[in-house]
């Protein structure tokens, strides 16, 4: 087929524009695109499904991505440096079988950290994300005592270089926010899930647990999964497969 010069210029212009914009454009399902005036709603419950069998030994992409996304800096002091997500290696005591999984705040439905916070700074949002309101956090660390998953970190030093959408400061407690800024923006995923996908492992899946058509709900309905410390009956928002 032949095209004239005008059409050619138009096509190439569109192609260049598309190539330039493409990395930052994403089509979002209407259900997840929430306008800024809307409140977070109990119609959704955000969660993660982590497939331990896909989690690669030695890979820390999720950890690095979380640190990058949220402006978490290491200070070379592993006992006091904040870690919102960490890779855990498990070795069965009897059989010696080794597996890996990422561990972060489990965003429980009945979070012990929310129960014990004296000021109510530790709270659960309507859509299930458990957060620390650092404006009223007094830094008592009681939530850290209460968390069954050791998900919370205390900021032990002066912080700098915070990301605009992830404020964090000395003397308050923090933990995985399920990338709430990304959720509210409608990105449809968390930094750790994105990084894992980019690495090709796809061990972490983010989604709406209350939406029966979401991929996470479909997988949870059709495949076995479990919660960590299920005997505590906290109904976590993060579920695991393969452990």
């Amino acid at each position: 087929m032949s095209i004239n010069r005008r059409q050619f210029l138009g096509l190439s212009g569109a192609a260049i524009a598309g190539a330039a914009l493409a990395p930052s454009l994403r089509l979002i399902e209407l259900a997840q695109a929430r306008s800024p005036e809307e409140t977070a709603s109990a119609q959704h419950r955000w969660g993660l499904l982590i497939d331990s069998s896909k989690c690669a030994d030695g890979c820390t992409s999720c950890v690095n991505a979380c640190a990058e996304e949220n402006g978490i800096q290491g200070h070379g002091r592993p006992t006091t440096d904040a870690q919102w997500i960490r890779k855990v290696t498990l070795k069965d005591k009897q059989t010696g079988y080794v597996q890996n999984l990422p561990l972060m705040c489990q965003h429980c439905e009945s979070p012990p950290c929310v129960d014990v916070c004296p000021t109510g700074a530790s709270f659960k949002r309507a859509d299930g994300i458990v957060l620390v309101d650092k404006h009223i956090c007094i830094g008592c660390r009681y939530c850290m005592m209460a968390c069954p998953y050791k998900a919370r970190s205390f900021v032990h030093e002066v912080t700098t270089g915070q990301k605009a959408y992830a404020p964090r400061g000395k003397g308050t407690v923090e933990s995985c926010t399920l990338c709430v800024h990304k959720v509210d923006r409608g990105d449809g995923s968390t930094a750790c899930a994105d990084a894992c996908k980019k690495e090709g492992h796809q061990a972490i899946l983010f989604g709406d647990l209350k939406d029966p058509d979401s991929e996470i709900s479909k997988r949870l309905a059709s495949q076995p999964s479990t919660q960590l410390r299920a005997d505590l009956k906290l109904n976590t928002g993060v579920r695991y497969q393969g452990i």
Binding site: T79, C117, I136, R141, M144, V155, H156
Partner: protein, 409 residues
């Protein structure tokens, strides 16, 4: 009819000012430590993301528990009508207030954001036992202040029984709340037990009375006021009973845990191979804090006041150690996230949390203790808290129950 004369202490000797100077220096050191920790952030302390409550909390909880127990003597007098203890009631109330103030000072100054105390007092999550404790502690100050007022002002002396009962019930609630801080935590195997509330109550009896005895001995000896054997013997026996009761609760706690296979790792950690925690438990908590004081108090050695004072000191030391094992040992123990697996990670999953007490933390704790004692020393100078005499003839219990007390400034 015998009257009890209360007298302010003279407070003009070199010894008095030296004591105040010493306590003041320790308080200043504590404040300096707070400045250091707050300015740099908690990384300069031994506390970390594994063991987040450290030496300051050991001291703070100890002081708070002891404060509640220090009121015991006044309660025995007012609520249970034992006239013998009545002359001691004022000092008891005073110590309750000052020890609580010292403990709370340590707790608040260790917060990540101590300047947000006003937030803690205005934003309440009523499901949190910690929030309830804030109300209970502040209320305790108010109730004991009123209680003291009833004791001081002669025309209100008839109300001491009612207010004393209120104070007694309040402090039982308060100590239940303090124990429940740990008892309500499902996450950690060393906590998560209903036994913590009554255990803390009985611990408060022991620690509070031990400190009371030491303060009473020091105050009467250093001001030259007589303290008769009748009073001393009563207090000695009471302390012995309380120490024995604490041992009983510790025994029940560990026996129960030993029975459950699931809790064997906790028991193994505390009783057997927890290293420093095991040593502290057996030597500090059981031997020094329990067995040796019982020997001293109930044997013929108990006739010597020096031995009684030594026993009281050992109870205090044992109490601090018990708090250390409970608070820090309980956190150091790894949580059972993955039963049947050995876990390892960059966040110290599956391993015992490391904690080394640091100097700033220790100075803060001692500073709080010194604050409590300093306030006590100051108070007995400006107001007549101490009876002029506790000699046997003056505290003779054989007088009628309507004995009125007179106070002279």
């Amino acid at each position: 009819m015998a009257h009890v004369h209360y007298l302010k202490i003279e407070g003009r000797s070199i010894g008095f000012f030296a004591l105040l100077a010493l306590l003041g220096a320790l308080i200043a050191a504590g404040l300096g430590a707070v400045l250091f920790m707050e300015h740099n952030g908690h990384w300069v302390t031994g506390m970390n993301n594994q063991v987040m409550w450290g030496t300051p909390h050991v001291f703070a909880v100890f002081l708070i528990v002891a404060a509640s127990g220090a009121l015991n003597v006044a309660s025995i007098a007012s609520v249970f009508g034992r006239q013998l203890y009545k002359p001691l009631a004022r000092l008891s109330g005073l110590l309750a207030i000052t020890l609580l103030a010292g403990g709370l000072a340590v707790l608040v100054l260790d917060l990540g954001r101590p300047e947000r105390l006003i937030v803690a007092m205005t934003y309440y999550n009523f499901k949190s036992i910690f929030a309830w404790n804030i109300i209970l502690y502040t209320g305790f100050f108010a109730i004991v202040a009123v209680y003291l007022w009833m004791m001081f002002e002669r025309r209100f002396n008839d109300y001491t029984k009612t207010v004393g009962m209120a104070a007694f019930l309040w402090r039982l609630t308060l100590t239940t709340g303090t124990g429940s801080i740990f008892g309500f935590l499902v996450a950690r195997e060393a906590y998560d037990s209903a036994l913590y509330a009554p255990m803390f109550i009985i611990m408060s009896f022991a620690y509070g009375l031990a400190i009371f005895i030491l303060v009473l001995f020091a105050a009467t000896r250093w001001t030259g006021r007589p303290l008769g054997d009748v009073m001393v013997a009563r207090l000695k026996n009471l302390l012995g009973v309380f120490v024995a009761s604490v041992l009983y609760f510790v025994l029940v706690y560990h026996l129960t845990n030993l029975y459950m296979t699931g809790r064997h790792d906790v028991e193994r950690f505390i009783l057997l191979d927890g290293g420093i925690y095991t040593r502290l438990f057996w030597i500090g908590q059981i031997l020094i804090g329990g067995v040796l004081p019982l020997v001293l108090l109930f044997s013929t050695l108990g006739r010597s006041r020096t031995m009684i004072a030594l026993a009281a000191i050992m109870v205090v030391v044992g109490g601090l150690v018990q708090m250390y094992v409970t608070i820090i040992g309980g956190q150091a123990l790894p949580m059972p996230l993955f039963p049947g697996k050995d876990a390892s990670s960059s966040f110290f999953d599956g391993v015992v949390g490391t904690y080394t007490p640091s100097l700033p933390e220790f100075l803060l704790g001692i500073g709080g203790f010194s604050l409590a004692l300093g306030m006590t020393v100051f108070a007995i100078k400006v107001l007549p808290f101490l009876p002029a005499s506790l000699a046997d003839a003056d505290v003779d219990p054989h007088h009628g129950p309507n004995k009125k007390t007179t106070d002279t400034a």
